[in-house]
């Protein structure tokens, strides 16, 4: 017990040393941030990202990875320090509008977006007499600029979605839009064995592999975009997609085989989608009707689709 106590004291001293070094590195003093305040910020970060019983090494690894200077600046701004806010404006004000312009594309939306974020960062709202600044939620894991970019992107997506829901029907009716009753989609039955085999195969994917597939096939991202996100070459993503497609096919066919399908049945089930076989009966009937007497030479193949 005594030995454990000694070890714990040594660890605490080492931790305090590191915190002191990080405080110096953060230049928090210039922004009116005390060492105790800085230590409390680090505690908050630790509490957010590490479990209660995280080891000293994990704590120190987390602390060393933080952008402490930007963290100190952001938190000092959130606390209302004027010097910090001036420094923030000098470094990030123009950047804020540039980022908003890039994301929103259109200048008036960009300005509106940037102004809204600016207000949230400054903290125009109060709760219990305390200013609510979004900068208080910055934790220093990534750069402050990257964090601002993410916040702006989030706000843009949220406001875009809100606007879509709030379209005025009166306006649309005036513009001549006619609203028809929604036609319920036809019920399509997919073989449950195929669903089960596919889900089983997808569950076997690693997070990165699934991310690549989802980005490419669901989000329609380009190879270059996916490659940039993962920090690899575009050709790597291309090869990965080919390999994953082949691997999934193989796993699903094996799964279908285990579920009682023959090889041919399994291949047909996988490759043929009933939606691709939809035939417009009216069009087909019209296409197969005898052409007018004077137009017999215009006969052609059956129309499909």
């Amino acid at each position: 017990m005594a030995r454990r106590g000694v070890q714990s004291d040594a660890e605490d001293r080492a931790l305090a040393c590191v915190v002191a070094e990080l405080y110096e590195k953060s230049r928090g003093q210039e922004f009116g941030l005390t060492r105790e305040g800085f230590a409390q910020i680090l505690q908050d970060v630790r509490k957010k990202y590490l479990p209660e019983r995280a080891s000293q090494a994990e704590t120190l690894t987390l602390y060393s990875s933080l952008h402490v200077e930007e963290l100190a600046l952001a938190r000092a701004c959130a606390a209302g320090e004027e010097r910090a806010w001036q420094a923030f404006l000098t470094r990030y004000r123009e950047k804020l509008y540039e980022i908003a312009s890039y994301i929103a594309k259109e200048s008036s939306s960009a300005r509106e977006l940037a102004d809204s974020i600016y207000a949230d960062l400054y903290g125009v709202r109060e709760r219990g007499g305390e200013r609510l600044s979004k900068l208080a939620s910055y934790m220093g894991r990534g750069s402050l600029e990257g964090w601002l970019r993410t916040v702006i992107a989030q706000e843009y997506i949220n406001s875009y979605r809100r606007r879509r829901r709030l379209v005025s029907l009166d306006e649309e009716a005036e513009q001549g839009a006619q609203f028809v009753a929604a036609v319920p989609p036809p019920v399509r039955t997919v073989d449950p064995r195929l669903t089960a085999a596919t889900d089983e195969a997808l569950a076997g994917l690693s997070p990165e592999d699934r991310f690549v597939l989802a980005s490419y096939y669901l989000d329609s991202r380009t190879l270059a975009q996916i490659a940039r996100i993962l920090g690899v070459h575009e050709s790597t993503i291309s090869r990965k997609l080919d390999k994953l497609a082949a691997w999934l096919r193989k796993r699903i066919l094996a799964g279908l085989g285990r579920r009682g399908m023959s090889r041919r049945q399994a291949k047909e089930a996988l490759e043929v989608d009933v939606r691709d076989l939809e035939i417009n009966v009216r069009t087909v009937l019209q296409g197969t009707a005898d052409p007018p007497f004077f137009d017999k030479k215009a006969e052609g193949p059956l129309a499909k689709g």
Binding site: I99, R141, P207, R210, A214, L218, I229, G231
Partner: protein
């Protein structure tokens, strides 16, 4: 590009099940590639199922500038004509020497041991802080495998930067061949793909290997320099963990930027090959003197390497042992494709 059957795409969509969303800190850190491998995997695990967070990541990514191609050096060795002229001259000289030597005595192969760098931690500080190093030791290089230029002069590595000590950086030497360009690209981030990349990018032609055998005994400084130029740059790590290389035996140095925020503590290089280790398990490998890099994720028994790499000893490009800040040893025998913890 292989097409995926619609049924699979539909199930991919149908199985999206986000549980909450990532906070902006994690998304920005992920996009900037500044997360520990374990955290990065967790974030990827969320992104794999959440289109909302993927959309935000993509929007953020657009703003991050791609690492610009490195400006070409203005020194003479940056001119392709002169560079290949030197190589051609060396090949001719090598051919002439080998003809002469065949009639006299067998060539002696200069054998050297790979360099290694150990960063001893100070006893008072168990913390994995790069500044805690007190000295650097370099071991002589181990015998090289036949596939490499076995006549290389002893390549050594060193460099644990000591941020607060003010110690001078020690120059590191290595091997052959000037790169064809000075831009640095990150090639792959796939565990265990280092060997495949080496096969794609290793550019030591057999002729230059024979040339290096023949020229090992050259005595003139110009010829020695040509040999050194053929055998790769010298490397060093500055006090803030920045990687630098020199193609002119240390006369001038240029910074090698990797698109990684990791701080590097240790490197091991010989020939065209270099391994680089740093904070939070950052591990990079190049087979063409730093022109292209592969990020290697060391995983042993399902556990990823997340600690600072402070020591590194590679006997050749395949066999090496890493030492972490907590004195763990991670060994590979296949150029980083698989790892064992010792």
């Amino acid at each position: 590009m292989a097409e995926l059957p619609r049924s699979i795409i539909e199930r991919l969509r149908g199985t999206e099940k986000p549980t909450g969303h990532l906070d902006p800190d994690l998304i920005s850190a992920f996009v900037e590639d500044s997360l520990h491998p374990a955290d990065r995997n967790r974030v990827l695990g969320h992104l794999a199922y959440c289109s909302h967070c993927r959309e935000i990541s993509a929007l953020c990514l657009a703003e991050i500038p791609v690492a610009a191609p490195r400006p070409t050096a203005s020194a003479w060795y940056a001119w392709p004509v002169l560079r290949w002229g030197v190589v051609a001259a060396c090949l001719l000289a090598a051919a002439a020497l080998s003809l002469r030597h065949r009639s006299s005595r067998p060539l002696e192969l200069a054998r050297s041991e790979p360099s290694a760098l150990e960063l001893p931690r100070s006893a008072a500080s168990p913390v994995p802080v790069p500044e805690a190093s007190s000295s650097v030791t370099a071991k002589p290089a181990a015998p090289l495998s036949p596939g490499h230029a076995s006549a290389l002069p002893a390549p050594t590595v060193a460099k644990a930067p000591k941020a607060n000590s003010g110690d001078e950086d020690e120059a590191v030497t290595a091997a052959t061949g000037g790169p064809t360009g000075s831009s640095t690209e990150l090639n792959e981030v796939v565990p265990g793909r280092a060997k495949e990349v080496r096969q794609e990018h290793a550019q030591l032609p057999q002729e230059s290997e024979r040339a290096s055998l023949a020229t090992a005994k050259m005595s003139s400084s110009a010829e020695a320099f040509a040999t050194a130029a053929m055998h790769g740059p010298r490397w060093t790590l500055s006090s803030d963990g920045t990687l630098e290389r020199s193609f002119d035996a240390g006369t001038t140095w240029e910074t090698v930027s990797l698109p990684s925020p990791a701080r590097f503590h240790v490197l091991s290089a010989y020939g065209m090959f270099i391994w680089l280790g740093g904070s939070s398990g950052a591990l990079y490998h190049s087979t063409d003197a730093g022109e292209h890099w592969t990020r290697v994720e060391a995983v042993a028994n399902g556990q990823a390497l997340t600690e600072d790499v402070i020591g590194m000893e590679f006997t050749d490009d395949d066999h090496g042992v890493l030492t972490t800040a907590t004195n763990q040893k991670w060994a590979t025998e296949d150029c980083g494709q698989s790892w064992q913890k010792k």
